[in-house]
């Protein structure tokens, strides 16, 4: 129960922090989407209920803080979580290169979803500059993903007071 109560606060802190990191370190030119890695990690580690709600809340808060419309990132994060959940049946989270590649694919998927939904939501095409500036973002996120996977794993273990185990595949 503590998990669900703390989830909105954790999500809010994470999104605000990643926004601030992007703003402070990269002058707002590149966003380091840590929340995406959390969602992918949840797909590999958590069950559908816990991970799904985490992704939903993260996406919703992301929408509220960075997107003019609610629901876009919520949908994308939930879909990425579900894709990760399916991928976790085949990919082991202990293999850094696979995690990196999978995160790269997920980040690209997110970008494609945004490009796809952009005309529907904002009534106009996305600029080529926005697309080209998104690519370094994808690379950064995928490079960081194995390290953050380890960090999340240690945090999870520390919070649980024991070595966390991957959830049983359902």
């Amino acid at each position: 129960m503590t998990y669900y109560i703390s989830l909105p606060f954790f999500s809010l802190a994470l999104i605000v922090s990643q926004m601030m990191i992007g703003d402070i370190i990269f002058s707002g030119k590149i966003a380091v989407e840590l929340s995406l890695i959390v969602v992918i990690y949840a797909g590999f580690r958590f069950d559908v209920l816990r991970g799904g709600i985490l992704s939903f809340i993260l996406g919703f808060i992301h929408d509220c803080l960075t997107c003019s419309l609610s629901g876009l990132y919520t949908l994308i994060y939930v879909l990425i979580f579900l894709i990760s959940k399916l991928a976790s049946l085949r990919i082991s989270p202990g293999k850094p290169f696979l995690i990196m590649s999978f995160t790269f694919v997920c980040a690209l998927f997110e970008g494609m979803m945004i490009i796809l939904f952009h005309p529907l939501l904002y009534g106009g095409g996305i600029s080529t500059h926005a697309i080209t500036s998104y690519l370094p973002q994808v690379l950064i996120v995928s490079t960081l993903s194995p390290i953050l996977f380890m960090v999340f794993h240690w945090t999870e273990a520390a919070l649980n007071g024991r070595e966390s185990q991957p959830v049983k595949r359902t």
């Binding site: 402070i24 370190i25 209920l49 919703f60 803080l65 003019s68 419309l69 609610s70 919520t74 959940k85």
Partner: protein, 282 residues
């Protein structure tokens, strides 16, 4: 949970996707409406963001100033180009502004003059040689002819000595070949103002009996028929009365700064116009 254990993950997944789509479609339909949760999150995030910003302000400053310099070179190049372009633009405006001031003075002069005048631009100057002349961009096609007087806002510039269809040469007041009938405004003493090149001009043939003081104003007398009466020529800067001779030696400083002339006005007189008389009547 009341859901069957076997289908629980699938149902939860479907529910989450459906809820996300509902939120998205609702948001698309009513984009201006800020929901309660959205407002709550924005309100909560603001102090958190400001707290983080304040905490990392110095660190961010160091990072931005010394480490994260991506795009700085491009920006620097762009700013330099912008700067050069803006300097050019400011210069153009400044030139336009100064030209406007000069033209306003010419216009005021035109309004003061009772004769028909034609404004002209100085397009060349030859003041280093023996003959002191300037070229102006108006000629016979504009109604100019030989011996027409040329003035500036400060006073007389000279007279036209050569003219073609679109260009005319003006003999300056300070040229040694220039002779203008002049009089001293205060004492009404008459003389001939002759150019003295770099020394300015000298007023000749003023008898020793006449009282002439430094600072007296010299104007055209209008007697020769070339220059209208009363045009400013210069100011007395030195007076010498030698023992020998009948006349005083009077040095005149012209009012016009010939090195800075840019626009002038040509007074177009009728050939039959009796300038001196005309002016006296006015």
């Amino acid at each position: 949970m009341l859901l069957p254990k076997k289908h629980q993950p699938l149902i939860i997944a479907c529910l989450l996707v459906i809820i996300s789509l509902i939120i998205l479609s609702y948001s698309v339909k009513q984009p201006t409406r800020v929901g309660f949760f959205r407002e709550l999150i924005l309100e909560t995030a603001a102090p958190l963001a400001s707290m983080i910003t304040v905490s990392f302000k110095d660190l961010a400053g160091v990072w931005k100033r010394y480490i994260f310099l991506v795009g700085l070179e491009d920006e620097n190049g762009r700013l330099k180009r912008d700067n050069a372009s803006l300097i050019q633009e400011i210069n153009r405006y400044r030139e336009g502004y100064l030209e406007n001031i000069r033209l306003q003075k010419l216009l005021a002069l035109k309004e003061r003059t009772n004769h028909h005048t034609i404004a002209a631009m100085v397009i060349g100057r030859d003041q280093t040689s023996i003959i002191k002349t300037i070229l102006i961009n108006k000629g016979t096609s504009h109604g100019l002819r030989l011996d027409l007087p040329v003035i500036a806002d400060q006073g007389v510039v000279g007279r036209i000595i050569e003219t073609s269809a679109h260009v005319s040469r003006v003999l300056l007041l300070i040229d040694e070949n220039s002779n203008i009938d002049a009089l001293i405004q205060e004492s009404r003493s008459q003389g001939i103002l002759q150019g003295a090149a770099s020394l300015g001009c000298s007023l000749k043939y003023v008898p020793k009996t006449e009282t002439v003081n430094v600072g007296n104003i010299v104007v055209s007398s209008g007697l020769s028929g070339l220059f209208p009466k009363g045009l400013l020529l210069g100011v007395v800067k030195n007076v010498e009365k030698t023992d020998s001779g009948l006349f005083q030696k009077i040095d005149i400083a012209p009012y016009v700064d010939f090195s800075r002339l840019e626009e002038v006005m040509v007074i177009v007189l009728d050939k039959t116009d009796n300038i001196g008389k005309n002016h006296r009547l006015n």
